[in-house]
């Protein structure tokens, strides 16, 4: 369970670094975010949800059955679009609404 950070996409805004419950995210020499101890990641997606630059890829470790897909999010008001990208590049979008309670 972990994330990969794309240094090209990262704008260095630092919002993700603030919210990591494990304090695992740091700024590198260029002010871009880096994860220093990827195995320590809980997989909570707090950082992913802060990133509007599509710089953080959330993926399942191979030991958890990961097969190369990843997830990123796009915020749009009360809507949160969860984008799942498969290895062939195809995307699936699931949208959750902050104003709607879970059905279960």
């Amino acid at each position: 369970m972990s994330i990969k950070i794309d240094g090209q996409q990262c704008t260095g805004c630092g919002k993700c670094r603030e919210v990591c419950p494990g304090s695992l995210l740091y700024a590198d020499q260029n002010g871009k975010t880096d994860i220093r101890y990827p195995k320590e990641c809980w997989g909570c997606t707090s950082c992913v949800k802060e990133c509007n630059a599509r710089a953080i890829k959330y993926y399942l470790g191979a030991d958890m059955g990961g097969q190369g897909s990843y997830l990123y999010t796009k915020q749009e008001g009360n809507l949160l679009h969860w984008m799942i990208v498969k290895p062939d590049g195809s995307e699936k979008k699931i949208t959750t609404d902050k104003t709607q309670a879970n059905a279960y």
């Binding site: 494990g22 990641c41 909570c44 470790g61 699936k92 699931i94 959750t96 879970n102």
Partner: protein, 561 residues
Amino acid sequence: MKLEVKNLETDILIIGGGTAGCFAAITIAENSEAQVIIAEKANIKRSGCLAAGVNALNAYIVKGQTPESYLNYVRNDAEGVVREDLVYSIAERLNAVTEKMETLGLVILKDEAGEYVSRGTRNIKINGENIKPLLAAAVDRNSNISVLNRVNIIDYIVEEGTVVGAYGFSLDQKIFYVISAKGVICTTGGAAGLYKPNNPGFSKHKMWYSPFNTGAGYAMGIRAGAEMTTFEMRFIALRCKDTIAPTGTIAQGIGAQQINSLGEEYEKNYGAPKTPNRMYSTVMENRKGKGPCYLQTVGITEGQEEDLYKAYLNMAPAQTLRWLENGKGPAAENVEIEGTEPYIVGGHTGSGYWVDTKRGTTILGLYAAGDVAGGSPQKYVTGCFAEGEIAAFSALAYIQGKKCSIPNEQVVQKKLGVVNKFLQNNTSGLYAASEVEEAMQKIMDDYAGGISSGYVFNAGKLEVAKRRINELLGISYQLKASDLHQLLFIHEVIDRLYVCITLIAHLEARQETRWHSFQENADYPQKDDENWLKFVNSRFSEGVVSIITRDLVKKDDRYEH
């Protein structure tokens, strides 16, 4: 590298800005002029158990139920060993704290008449994805609360048997905090990572409970000589295989049954449907060669499947990613389930500080709430709010007329010296903190009833565990850190080792089996109400854990130490 002292003073210090801690701070701010510091090792916006969100509120008095019926449920589920005074005082507050959360912005599902929609007899449906940011925003709106984010508290300051503050260090600057307070509330949560986890390799932190909850509050209390209770009642969660995502959403949400690989519903063969039995029955089916076990979801509708995808994104996104990545969702494939490694967590079982009815610990000046406080299982999120509120009012009453006590320079320098020693890099240590952690998890797994031993232990194995864990504690004081994060790792593993030492003593002490899997003593496989319908408590002093047994406490008793 060396840390430098920075002194702070406040009326009430809250250690840990999670569920209970934030709610305690808000309660104090809204009911007094007292100054509060929250010391949080991450950032309160997403720290603690609720970082990813929560799927439902599991403790609420729904229509037709009462605080008494809630108490009955908790007592029954815990086989009688509960502090009724604590459980009842929480149950009385569950609905008021829920309404408070709604005013802070929590979305709760309502019916046409404006009533909350229940999920079962004690649960209500919410959108809990942003529950922690909502709490953090409420904290930020109060000017008399100061939040110290990314500050790791390591020990209490104790003067003449009274807690008068705490020591900690910053994760960003070379600062050693000496925080003096008139009263202290500990809300650090429980302990994960004591045992070898389900995914011991790359995904080692994909666990149920927050891996950043390392038992710091328990360990600080243990080192300070506070009385602890019921550590032997471990919590083992029944979860979705690999992702360790919740199963309750599926089981209660769509009514899925637990089945074995032959398609047989097995839970009913193992007695009443209590929390430990859902786990134990799954362990036993696997032992009989009838695994893997599943939640039977095949055949649910497309709409139900889509709702499950969303519900999981709001609390455990890995599960939705897993389904979509696989190309097979729960409608097409049953969801495999497994038990987690054992945790110590007072919001689910009874482990934690032994507190009085007011949530005062056995050390004057120190209060406890949430997962770190013992005696009252099944608190869940709302119970932690309720307990945070009770502790807040008790601490407010306690600090009246008190002054801050500033520890003398020698005492501070001695404590700082211990911390700075870890940072002296002129000699490099043989071991890393992560290696000590792995060794600890292996020992606990093998000898103190972890996953690979089917959660079962006996006195002979515990004896080995005790010896080896004490050896590791010796090694851990030789560890070296080259940065502040490594200094955090060292303190986390030391805290976990103290929790293990206490846990092993508790497992040894209860000579019966009261909660299958949670506490499965092979030397005493039966429940023994005649001798053990009571609490196992402990106190640590000069390297030795002493066991004390205590009687049950009734609902209307006011328990005082």
